[in-house]
């Protein structure tokens, strides 16, 4: 599973909502190797502006077609430049990076918030034919375009929105205990904002269900060389989110 830097060509770029886009890249070297939860590190401009690469989870991959899919939100200059890419443009792509999800159990629950749902798409596909359920949260109906994406790869989606415009009103962490009481899930995979993750981890611990979380950190190198992304773990040590993670067992991380 060696890392490479390749010029990936854009196969398709489409808008999901005003600010969220889906980018399909042809990059067989990575599509072949990638495991759910890994990410790519893109150089969005051949310029010093922006200078650093940008990390994006691999939301899906098709080894046969040699393509990977990213789902990203335009939040700043780097993602704005990414959004300008057209079919047949090239983008400098490093990957696959990081340590992905560890596939186990028989009855998984995936919990995702915001753009944290991206890596869960590929995870859900990887978990097939297990009966995958996804608990997803977002601010409002508009932001919750995710059910459409997950419908093909999972059995059931549970939805919460902050404003109740779709699904249950509240946070994923409000609905989670209820789900765990009803169904005997044997593993939880979570990705999303820090606040959501710590909530999920706490509930998983209460219900005594193993839980993996995918973390986000500001990254320079993406390959373990700069130490910009390290996080404190049990035992007074620190680990690198870019190589030891982004996926960690919940018990390892200090919240």
């Amino acid at each position: 599973m060696s890392k490479t830097v390749v010029l990936a060509s854009v196969v398709r770029q489409e808008s999901i909502t005003g600010m969220v886009k889906k980018l399909e890249l042809s990059v067989p070297e990575i599509a072949r190797e990638v495991q759910a939860g890994q990410f790519v590190h893109l150089r969005v401009a051949d310029s010093f502006y922006p200078l650093l690469r940008r990390p994006f989870s691999i939301a899906d991959a098709d080894a046969a077609a040699g393509t990977i899919t990213l789902i990203y939100r335009i939040v700043g200059q780097g993602t704005a430049l990414l959004a300008r890419l057209d079919c047949e443009d090239f983008v400098d792509c490093m990957g696959p990076l990081g340590t992905g999800f560890s596939i186990q159990g028989e009855k998984p629950l995936l919990v995702g918030g915001g753009m944290g749902l991206a890596p869960l798409v590929m995870l859900a596909r990887t978990l097939c034919p297990r009966p995958v359920e996804v608990l997803m949260g977002g601010r409002n109906e508009q932001e919750l375009f995710w059910p459409d994406i997950f419908n093909n790869v999972c059995q059931h989606t549970h939805i919460t929105t902050d404003d109740g415009s779709i699904g249950r009103r509240g946070f994923t962490t409000d609905l989670l205990p209820e789900l765990l009481t009803k169904v005997k899930y044997d593993i939880i995979y979570a990705c999303g904002p820090q606040a959501m993750l710590s909530g999920v981890v706490k509930i998983a611990r209460e219900f005594d269900i193993p839980c993996q979380v995918s973390l986000e950190e500001y990254m320079a190198c993406g390959i373990g060389a700069c130490l910009s992304c390290t996080c404190a773990v049990q035992g007074g040590k620190r680990r690198k989110v870019c190589t030891d993670g982004p996926v960690f067992w919940a018990g390892e991380v200090i919240w």
Binding site: S2, F48, Y49, M219, A220, G224, L227
Partner: protein, 308 residues
Amino acid sequence: MSCAKDMLAVEIAGIKMKTPVMTASGTFGFGLEFIDFIDLKQVGAIVVKGTTLVPRAGNSGRRIAETPAGMLNSIGLENPGVEEFVNQILPQLAQSQVPVIVNIAGNTVEEYGELAARLNLPDVAGLEINISCPNVKQGGIAFGTCPDSAAQVVGAVRVKTNKPVIAKLSPNVTDIVVMAKAVEAAGADAISLINTLLGMAIDIHSWQPVLGNTVGGLSGPAVKPVAVRMVWQVAQAVHVPVIGMGGIMTAADAIEFLLAGASAVSVGTANFINPYAAVNVAEGIRDYLMERGLTHVGEIVGKVGNCL
């Protein structure tokens, strides 16, 4: 005989390197992080992450921020400590047959001496004294901005090692030449510069400093003009070789430093963007020399103001 290999071979303070392109401390991990991309033997020398006597967790909060054509970092010298480095990492790295230079940082003059003593090992090609880290409150920058303390640190290392000693200077000083002369007089075999410029960024939405540590070190293309100027000033003023760095992204950048008087260069921030950077830069220097009918990289060192 101008065989393509020999064109780039240099010896800096007794350290034999295949190319004059090294990797800067803190930007190339322990080298092993790059083996998927390059054959480490193709690098002139690897300067590993700043190493301290006891393990350090580094700074908390956000550690990097992007700035125009640059970046701020406040890693805070996170490292596993000299014991783990010597026992776990060095043996692996030694197998790659590339000169390994250990960047050392202490809180006191004595700690620098102890580190030097602890690193008197066959697999260590040389020591780089980090008297200039802006991210550590005690020591570090303080040593790096006062010629007397810088000299003391170099002296303390000098008496404890027979390895080549490289003193790494901070650019955050009024007169870089005074600093360079002080460390030369104290026994440094080579001088490397520049470390990062002290900078800061503020998040205008949250009103908080972007970095957990409030301030951090500025590196990358943005600092190149300052670095080239300082290398040029120092190279004229000292007799020991100078290792130039600060914003080198391409061979053209490296050649600027060589012309300014650096005998070798280090690639830093560029490693984060292009993991092949150190190798690409060396290849580009070779092409440059060949296009001009030159036979060795030494022929351009310090040649600014001369005619080709």
